[in-house]
Symmetry: C2
Subunit: 163 residues, 2 copies
């Protein structure tokens, strides 16, 4: 799949920088992690991840504040950022990548199908993107993985933080 | 993919029993979780999972004893069982499914490429299977997911534990 080329470039960049990566996934449910581990030699870079499908696991596994989840629901930009940060902390990685959104077929907590947030947290801080995706459940999940990997690649284009 | 039919049957069975499921994955790196979340309506059953790619995360995220990992390495039947049990406990689910093994291309800690353990832990106890798989990295990972789902289906054929 096309995700591979972007992911391969990011894995190479992380290897050059001596930095590591972790994931926290809601709607993509492991697909982002599975895309990364397809890459030979990824074990030098990728530490692991959290599949936080149930809302309460976003708190229990990734440390997203319960108050934030109660106030905004799971499909929210600050929740996405907290998930990316949680992936870093809980998996002991330099960078965290996260996804949360509505894959469908039904809207969720008043949020429409296709509303997705992808976030990256790393040494320089965190970035989040709001997406409005179209298509069926599988298309929305696949595109969410692509966009999360593109955001990671974008964040990694900045120079490494000085130590 | 063919995994879908087996997974769909297990998800239906869990829904009938009012029971929930979690995953802990090493070599399959999220592919088992991603296969499950493809199923519409799975959110009533699947809580989430742990991608424990780095060996130390098998302890930190899934609670596999450090002494067991130090003594046997990550590719071991008791580690697989502990991962399945850890998935249940950490994700608050009735059932846990786990994978650990060598996807290749290189042997790992003296264990050959294709040696894989899949395990299921649930209310009646735990089951583990040793597999000797052939093929490339992707084939070994895909077949590991299939075998993990088949073991889950087998365990779910037994009557529900009386409460």
């Amino acid at each position: 799949m096309g995700n591979d080329l972007v992911a391969v470039a990011s894995v190479r960049r992380l290897k050059e920088r001596g930095e590591t990566l972790a994931t926290a996934e809601s709607l993509t449910g492991g697909l982002l992690a599975a895309t990364l581990v397809e890459i030979s030699g990824v074990s030098a870079v990728y530490r692991g991840g959290l599949v936080v499908y149930a809302t309460d696991l976003k708190h229990a596994l990734a440390g997203v504040p319960e108050s934030l989840l109660a106030e905004r629901g799971p499909v929210d930009p600050d929740v996405a950022t907290a998930l990316a940060q949680g992936a870093r902390v809980r998996c002991g990685a330099d960078w965290g990548v996260a996804t949360t959104g509505v894959a469908g077929p039904e809207p969720q907590d008043g949020k429409p199908v296709g509303l997705v947030y992808v976030a990256v947290a790393g040494p320089p801080g965190a970035e989040v993107r709001e997406l409005r995706l179209e298509g069926d459940r599988e298309a929305i999940r696949t595109e969410s993985v692509t966009r999360a990997l593109l955001l990671l690649a974008e964040c990694l284009r900045e120079p490494a933080a000085s130590v």
